[in-house]
Symmetry: C2
Subunit: 318 residues, 2 copies
């Protein structure tokens, strides 16, 4: 049963686990992916998750599912609707971050885990950890919210709206445009200057075709994304974020301990978003600390090997 | 003859003039429009140009043409190619900011004006004033460069590339996304929060359709833009900016007096761009002053009634 009242069945969940649950069941870490991730946490978050990494798979039992609405194994709009025998497409029901958490909790019950050492995620992943902690704090000892937000800005919504407009108009081809746009917002002005500057691939006269290196980068990112991602999942998971507003309900004080991390060059969910959610948690009386980390790589920093950030996570996980 | 060596003929120029040229021919002000403007300066720049305004049409003889490559009367890709009897489309030759200036100078000769009191423009308009002053400083007594740039950043190029990718894929429909994207970059985070916040047009359940006020705003902007603008002009004039790099040639010291203005919330061509072009002019020994003006409206500020900015322009024009 979704938060909207709509019923969705069956729901399959694709997930990966790494490491071993200890006898006390006390070492489970739940990794929550962002808009375009999947269950393979040791692949897309290889900088942070793995043997000897801050989320150490030699020490922790790490669980990572593909999200509800996803396109990498978990039920989503590209799944077959049993009522019609056809893929859901836009008949897939709308859902919320709370619904994502409902599915995570069902997976946890299936795995026989009653309490998490830590839930950790970046961007939309952090939003899920936050919602989970606010709704079921007894289930989360710690939550790590990396460049998350508890309320999108008008600019955030505007970028997502523009991406969705392209996808709804033009399907996969529109998603190419959405992906280019997203990549610009994942990087920073500074990071793009460092990475590309005004370098051109070849000397020669000006052309309407891709010429600057940054143009070739965007072409490439769009191309590989189209091969792996479903446009409908993009629509649904971006829309989930627009409506996310977990403090509007006036939740009770959560016992969970929170670590919020933001990056100074992130302008998609920058420090002001982490400051906002930290203040909201403090207002509830929660145990929360926030660190702004220096990194030139913008929002993408959460996927990168940024030593100060990794040290904070490792220390917080103890 | 274009800078590329290509020949383009005939070239028609649509222009407007306001006020009267004085007997000494000393009161001509040339207004240069940006990416999506036209010759009607007293309409689109009504905050700055008109009777009693900082660019006072009671005092100055104001000239404003539609740009080469435009779609509002001047020869551009939607014009008929005399060689084929069909619109040029992508057969229109590529051109540069210097070529825009070449056409402006031909218009000036046609009008019998030999020297301008001032050339003034915002964004791409400022780029034209800068190029003109560097190439023919004796023709410009003053140049006002409002939120201009002498070298686009990788992020700037990336935004333009993304817009062009949508247009080249999907023509006018793609231009709808390009316009939405552009509007986000014309505003600021702060300005969008002030103007829209998270306001929704109606109470009700979440929807995939436009719901937040900022979404309706973008829909509306895209719709009215499609009715008035040509996708090919968007391709050509955005590409002109990507390649603009007027100091690369090592120009001689210009005699023109320069005023550069930037806005603190502008993140498309923000203060760093004006600082850069000011330093380049100073390195040539030019007379240039730069002011950063406080305004919450981002790049769009150059079209708005921002008192400090208008006072600076009025004072500089004497």
């Amino acid at each position: 049963m979704l938060e909207s009242g709509a019923r969705l069945a069956p729901v399959e969940v694709a997930y990966a686990t790494y490491g071993t649950l200890d006898a006390a069941g006390s070492n489970a870490v739940f990794v929550l992916h962002a808009l375009t991730g999947d269950a393979e946490a040791v692949v897309w978050w290889d900088t942070l998750v793995g043997p000897g990494k801050p989320v150490d798979t030699d020490r922790f039992f790490v669980i990572c599912p593909n999200l509800l609405g996803g396109c990498r194994g978990t039920t989503g709009p590209s799944s077959v609707n049993p009522a019609t025998g056809e893929p859901y497409g836009l008949d897939f029901p709308l859902f919320t971050v709370r619904d994502l958490v409902t599915v995570h909790r069902a997976l946890l019950a299936h795995l026989g885990v009653t309490r998490l050492h830590t839930a950790i995620g970046g961007s939309l992943g952090g939003m899920q950890a936050l919602q989970w902690a606010l709704d079921h704090p007894a289930e989360l000892e710690r939550a790590v919210l990396v460049c998350a937000s508890a309320k999108l800005s008008a600019q955030n919504v505007a970028f997502s709206k523009t991406a969705r407009a392209a996808i709804r108009r033009d399907g996969a081809a529109g998603m190419a445009f959405a992906r280019m746009l997203a990549h610009i917002t994942y990087l920073s002005v500074e990071g793009m200057e460092l990475k590309f500057g005004r370098a051109r691939r070849a000397e020669g006269p000006m052309t309407m075709d891709s010429d600057f290196e940054v143009e070739h980068y965007l072409d490439h990112q769009a191309e590989i994304f189209l091969a792996r991602f479903d446009p409908f999942t993009y629509l649904y998971l971006s829309r989930v974020m627009d409506y996310f507003d977990p403090f509007a309900d006036g939740p009770p004080r959560p016992d969970t301990r929170f670590l919020a991390i933001s990056f100074d060059s992130d302008w998609r969910f920058g420090t002001e978003h982490s400051v906002h959610l930290t203040r909201e948690l403090e207002a509830l009386g929660a145990d929360v600390r926030h660190h702004e980390v220096r990194s030139p790589w913008g929002h993408d920093s959460f996927l990168m090997a940024v030593p100060e950030y990794h040290a904070l996570v490792a220390a917080f996980l103890g």
